[in-house]
């Protein structure tokens, strides 16, 4: 596959996906406002300005990921993958644990990088690289198995940090790749069956606190001060928001800190309390528009690799949204998966903007010439 330069029509930004950028920018703006409000008068009170910096950095990387032809990146996916594995393994071997987890790669200047978030970008490229080459209508079972093995390596490394939530968020990428490569329904059914059988077995692999969270999810009223505390407080905050919300920086549950981690994992609960169902509806509409826009770019992609990139980003977005917002409304158990573009966090924000850059990249090169 040859490199495809951008069409030389003189107006490089004209062809950018402004709908996608607009939706993402609006969501990010809501996020910054809510981070500001939720972290008022706490040790995180300047998180909003940091988040702005992350967004700025993310925007630059978005541009970069838009400019470099995605085929160039996809062709080097194996290199990035190797680098990712080395970094993850290095973290496990050498990193000092922070809060009991070897998750952070220290950078000069006191910054640190959550490698597992950037692994998502690598895995999207891997999907495009691995599944984009098949010319047959359906992949064979063995090939799906290979793909799973490729994913298993970083997932297991991340799981060992330990960070099961992030490891889990790699799954939708793989699932989307396999789905789009024409998995046989029989195989799909078999895989689902195996997964279902694996659930009880997997129970024993969970840490006690993870088990508690699942139990708390199943029986929310049993342990309101332990594992049930976070879901309860989230539910109360959301419910207290009502239709119109309690107003910016005026949500009692958020401001009086009943809501746990209101600027990161539960940022959407804080947002729901302060802006009500109306605000939630608006934000969800924006997310929906973003998702559909990404899917649209998949449909117009020039080749399988482009389509796979866009669709796996859409799958990742939908998955994280489902798990995070689902947790906020108590439809999902408590996990540490952040909400893309709203939750405070440097690595997650930057990595996700890089992924959107890839989607924009696919759009810019949708015309084959």
């Amino acid at each position: 596959m040859s490199l495809r330069p951008l069409p030389k029509r003189g107006r490089p930004f004209h062809d950018f996906d402004w709908v996608l950028i607009g939706a993402a920018a609006l969501i990010a703006a809501l996020g910054v406002l809510e981070i500001y409000s939720a972290a008022l008068a706490t040790q995180w009170q300047d998180a909003w300005s940091k988040q702005l910096i992350w967004l700025g950095l993310g925007a630059l990387l978005f541009l970069a990921m838009s400019w470099i032809d995605y085929h160039w990146l996809v062709n080097r996916a194996a290199v990035f993958y190797g680098l990712a594995i080395v970094l993850l393994a290095g973290l496990l071997l050498f990193a000092e644990p922070v809060n009991g987890a070897r998750r952070w790669l220290p950078l000069p200047g006191g910054l640190s990088l959550q490698v597992s978030e950037f692994v998502k970008v690598v895995l999207v490229l891997i999907i495009a690289r691995y599944f984009g080459n098949f010319t047959t209508a359906r992949i064979r079972f063995r090939e799906a198995l290979y793909a799973s093995a490729i994913f298993a390596a970083p997932a297991l490394l991340v799981q060992h940090q330990p960070d099961m939530s992030t490891a889990l968020s790699y799954a939708p990428l793989l699932g989307m790749g396999i789905l789009l490569s024409g998995i046989r329904w029989k195989h799909a059914a078999a895989a689902v069956l195996v997964l279902m059988l694996a659930v009880p077995a997997g129970w024993w692999a969970l840490k006690p606190y993870q088990q508690e969270r699942i139990v708390a999810f199943m029986h929310p009223e049993d342990d309101l001060r332990g594992a049930g505390y976070q879901p309860l407080q989230s539910r109360i905050a959301v419910g207290a928001g009502g239709i119109w919300g309690q107003g910016f920086a005026r949500g009692t549950q958020t401001q009086l800190r009943f809501l746990p981690v209101p600027h990161t994992d539960f940022v959407f609960a804080a947002f729901a309390e302060e802006s009500g169902f109306v605000g939630v509806f608006l934000a969800m509409a924006l997310y929906f528009a973003l998702t559909m826009r990404i899917v649209h770019n998949a449909r117009t992609a020039a080749d399988a690799a482009g389509m796979l990139i866009a669709m796996s980003v859409a799958a990742l977005l939908l998955f994280q949204l489902l798990v995070n917002v689902g947790m906020v409304v108590n439809k999902m158990p408590v996990t540490g998966i952040p909400l893309p573009l709203m939750s405070y966090g440097g690595s997650g924000t930057v990595a996700f903007l890089m992924l959107l850059g890839l989607v924009n990249n696919v759009r810019l090169r949708r015309f084959t010439n």
Binding site: F134, L179, G326
Partner: protein, 617 residues
Amino acid sequence: MSPGENPLRRSRSVEIALFQYAAAAVFLWLLSGFWQLQVQKSGIYAQKAEQNSVKSLPIPAPRGEILDRDGRPIVNNAPSFSATLAAGKAYSANLPDIAAGLDLPLDRLQERLAEVSPNLARDRIVLKENLSIADMAFLEAHRAQFREIDIVQSQRRFYSAEGVAAHVVGYVGEIGKAELAMREFSLHGPGDKIGKTGIERQYNHLLAGKDGRRRLLVDNRGRSQGVIESIAAQPGRSLRLTLDLDLQAVAEMGLEGYRGAVVALDPRNGEVLAMASAPVFSANAFVDGIDGKEWKRLLEDPAKPLLNRAVQGQWAPGSVFKPIVALAALEKGLANSTFRTTCTGSRTYFGHRFRCHARRGHGSVSLNEAMTQSCDIYFYELGKQLGVDVIAEYARRAGLGAKTLIDLPDEAAGIVPSIDWKVRLFRERWYAGETISFVIGQGALTVTPLQVAQAIGGLAMGGVWHRPRLVSPGQLAEMREGHARREPRRAPLAPWHSRIIRQLLWGVVNAGGTGARARLDAVDVCGKTGTAQRVSNRTRLEHNRPEFEDDAWFVGYAPCREPEIVVAVLLENGAHSYFAAPVARDVIKAHFDKKKRRQLQLSATRPTLARLAERTQ
């Protein structure tokens, strides 16, 4: 390849569409969750949010002080801290830890919570009062863990450790189930402190203030972030008693080592100057909630320390009843100067031999000698002639056999027997021999020390019996407590009868009578001794058990002509009035010493006042 011809892309449009539908479904599902929480159940969660972030804390109202007649505090308050608990189901998991940390019995705590929880109006109970420094440290350290606990500053009732006036004052305690249903406590709710006995109970409505309430905005650690509203507490009102602490102290000292009671009244108005009962208890034990064992020990103590013997104990009056009989005899024209009888130590009435306390007899006695020497035979003779009903009438006129209506709860009425009374109660006729016992204050007749003081005081006043009071009507009127001033009961004695009684009782103390030990130099003391048998003499001598010992009485007043103070003393198993008379004497002496001191002070300050007045001119 031209656009749109990518075989893979075209063939996957089904999967992409599938994803789009799935995405739409996910969004709708999530939105339905918000719809449920924010639109359908918003009210419930708004309420839960308020429960989270709004804390309602009581501001305990300090109880009014209880003062003596000179304004000296008998009972006051000391600032203390109480741990209060928000009663709620979600918190029960912490109870064992809390109970252990605060050193409280867990089962009792759970019991109390179970009692209070159904009552939604009161969402907090007091866990422990008068927190120690260790308790405070424990709660402070576990603040984040026990968010249901709050420390509230309050005023703790502070009683005398030595039990000064303990029986009069009573004590406070947490309101009980039965009391919640009483009209007198209708303004109180579960967990409140109320007066349980004594003045604390009688005037609970004045002493108890009204608790205030603060509604605070709190964060997740229970720290206040601002006050939403604050309703100030209305402190209880201070109450000035008629009690004189100086006299009270003397009375209590006199009772030391005895079981018994002392009552000192001002016979001119019924004001109680001293009221002591022994043994005493320290009411402080009740304030913080007395534990079951200690309570049981107090209840089952054979010495009955909780009983206010002055108003709740009933005893045979013995010879202190004789002045009343004497009056009856005088008014019936029986005991005139010519009426004499010969005492030989015993005499047989109605086939039964009755003894005089003097074995050898008093010889020929008139009323005067009979009273002075407390000759029983003389009074047997009077009783036989007067009959039971006449004596009973005079006893009731003097206030015996009925509650004095003093402002204390649970007063005993005593018994004045009569023919009717016996038939009604026992369906038995009155035996004439019973009159003989009755007339010397034995038999069915029982009285309280307060009744004795009131009866003899009224007699000394020439037939005016004031209702005894611990809070003067004037004081209550000042507090706008519209208590109608109760008129005294009057049955005026003829002046010469009055004089005879006075002379008789003067003689008991001052003319070689049985009450010589009550004599004072500074003031004329009148009085009468009494020794009341608990069992027959024979039983007492055979068994020689302390609880069979006679009860000793003395009642005296002074000055004889215009009495200001009447004191009744009872010593349970005190063997002889020999020991009772000095107790009364000391109280009377304290009264007059104090009066004299006052007058001296007054004369000392007058010139100063005059000089001050000159200077200002």
